[in-house]
Amino acid sequence: MQENIEGLKYICLKLDLAEWLDSIKADGNLNNAQDLIRTGIILALKCDESVVQNKQDEVISRNEGDRNYNTGDIDLDGYITLLMKMFGGDLANQSKYRMQALANLGVEMIRDNFYDEVIQWDKIENEIKKKL
């Protein structure tokens, strides 16, 4: 999932996920896409290392329409980075690329498993608790 760009000032979401976020925002389910990206990262933190790594290895291409989100908007006071550090397993492996992989993985999980016309926050909570 790495691309030869400058150190990640932006993390990039796959086009289909970015469009899905746009659509649920348009449906009035969400105020900001960043809120759900943060939730996605938190959800993905408890995934197996290999799953996250696979996601990190996927090719991401802004030329194909995958979309940038400013990491500053997502990780406002370094809280997300801190969570990744504390709950993300191998500390050495924490980076913005990692955050990008977690965001893509987590948003995808929400879209595929915890969304049916509305976001099923109760199920997301259960999923997080299940992995604790």
């Binding site: 009035g28 969400l30 105020n31 933190l45 969570l83 709950f87 016309e117 509305v118 926050w121």
Partner: protein
Amino acid sequence: MSMVFVELKLTNWIPYSGDQNLKFNSAHDVMNMSMIRGQNKGGKSAIIRAIKWVLYGDTGDVSEYQRPLELLNRDAKNNGDFKYSVCFILYNEGKRVEITRTMSVPGGVSIAKDTDFNEELSIKEDKNYIFGDELEGYIKKILPRDISDFFLFDGEMLQQYKGLATSTTAAKKLKIQIEKVIKTPYIKAARDDMNAIKRDLLKAVKDRTDDKQIDLLLTRLEELSIKEEECSNSLERLETDVRTEEEAIKKIESNLRNHEEMIEITKELETVKKRVTHTEHNVQNAKDIMKTQSSNAWTYLASTLIGSRRSDLERKGNELSKFIDENRTNDVLNNLYKESIGHCNLCHGKLTPEQKAHIESKLQEYSTENTSDAEIQLKDIRKLLNKISNTDDLEMLRKQPASYYSNIEQLHEYNIEIENLNKQAKSSEQKDIIDLMQQKVNCENEKKQLDESIERIFNELNGPEGIRKAKKDVDLLYSKLQKDKPIYDRNQSLLELCTKVERTLSETLENLIYQVREEIEEYANEMYSKMTVESSLTSLKINEGFGLDVLDANNEKITTSSAGNQIVAMSLLYGLKKATGLNGPLLIDTPFARVDLEHRQSMLNSYAEMTDQIILLVHSGEINEGGDLEKSIAQNIGARYNIKKESDTNSRLIRI
């Protein structure tokens, strides 16, 4: 007046194909009630229409049942039989009267148009036929159209009788109804004629007088008379317009009744649509809550994550804290050593090189641990622990999806319901109903405006400062001025005479009406107490302005329910008939349209006593066949008919 309806013979009349007979019970008997039962749109109203048509040449309807082809039975028309007729047999003042009205087309016409029909009226009194110009006059004599509303009426319209007296305008109508019944129109006509003669005389006298004062008075009188005539004409026109609107409303209501089933569906649709709106609001509400709350959901979920490792984090935090503290002591010692510059800080003695080497080696040993990483880690742990929320910020979000799905499911069910109702409802019929309802509102608004105009003009004419009062004053002044002067003109003496006669006629009118008012009130109360189920002490009062009030035991005005209104209306009708000697039959279509079961019983019992002959056109919803209500009046029912609707174009009257 003594009148009994005997028989009605219908030929190809609206829903009745071929010949149909309806024999009413004989009056002056205990069994003075006839009951004709039929379903809606089955042919009940066609009976009342037949009687009106045979008597007055039209059915009383405004927008339909006016043209011959609307009155001709459709089966007959399709079979090429273009003749229809109604024969009405009754006894009037002991004489048998047979009135027949026939419409037919000349021979040789294969496809009849409305204009092809010829009308024929025949009246036979005992064995004698009435001829020519006397025909219409004869009907006017025995049952004038003006007062036919006291004999033949639609139960739904009973409310109008209550309405006759519940407002100033309506009170005037009640007065007009009473005037009609006690034949005051004749006196009024005489007064109006006298007025016209007086106006001519005024002009003649005015032309010949030299007296300026008298000339002035006569000019004023002339002006007032013109205004009076204008107002009277306006009133007449407006009243005709009101009647037209009332007929239109009646027609619309009748049409709406024909759509009863459809109206129910429409109402149900409206209810479901309201529920849909409400549920959609709930859905939106749930979404709004979820949207607002979604901004902070992630912090709560992060907090959950941190909370799960709280004790680990706290333990690690403590360890780090301890470690940092220990290393801080070492720093102090190190500083102390540096500051001492080779001297002991306690005894101030000079340290030997061996002692220095020993202290430096010990300090080196303690300072192998770097505290900066530990401090960063501790800061991170504290930051995380501070993020643990003590409140359940996800509570609302947890509940909302369930609420959302339940409402969405409900919406789905409502939509299925709407779809089914729409399938039952013909959209064209729905549109008709909406149109009819709109027409009714328009008519009611128009009528309201007309009523207001009538009230205004009526007050202008009859009010304390009105034209008639002014005219009377000028008349008196004129008489006073003339009193001492010799009558030198024939016109002047005729004018005086006219004024006196006109005044006498006006006073007679007033007296007659007020006398009869008291009688009406007395009789109306007699019937009202019989019909009222509640053991209350309410009574009816017709006030001096001919307004009708319902009073409680303390003589305070009260309002009445729908059933109460119908009872008031029937009581008033009874009072009017009784006080004015209109002791004829009573034919009511849909008599219990707005009356509850309890009041139906009391009203039904009273109907039998109300008049010598009563004919009820009911649908089974009003009086169940063989039900308690019917059984309770079984001894009064002399004739029973069922209207059997065989098809949309053919109903049959079956005596049972």
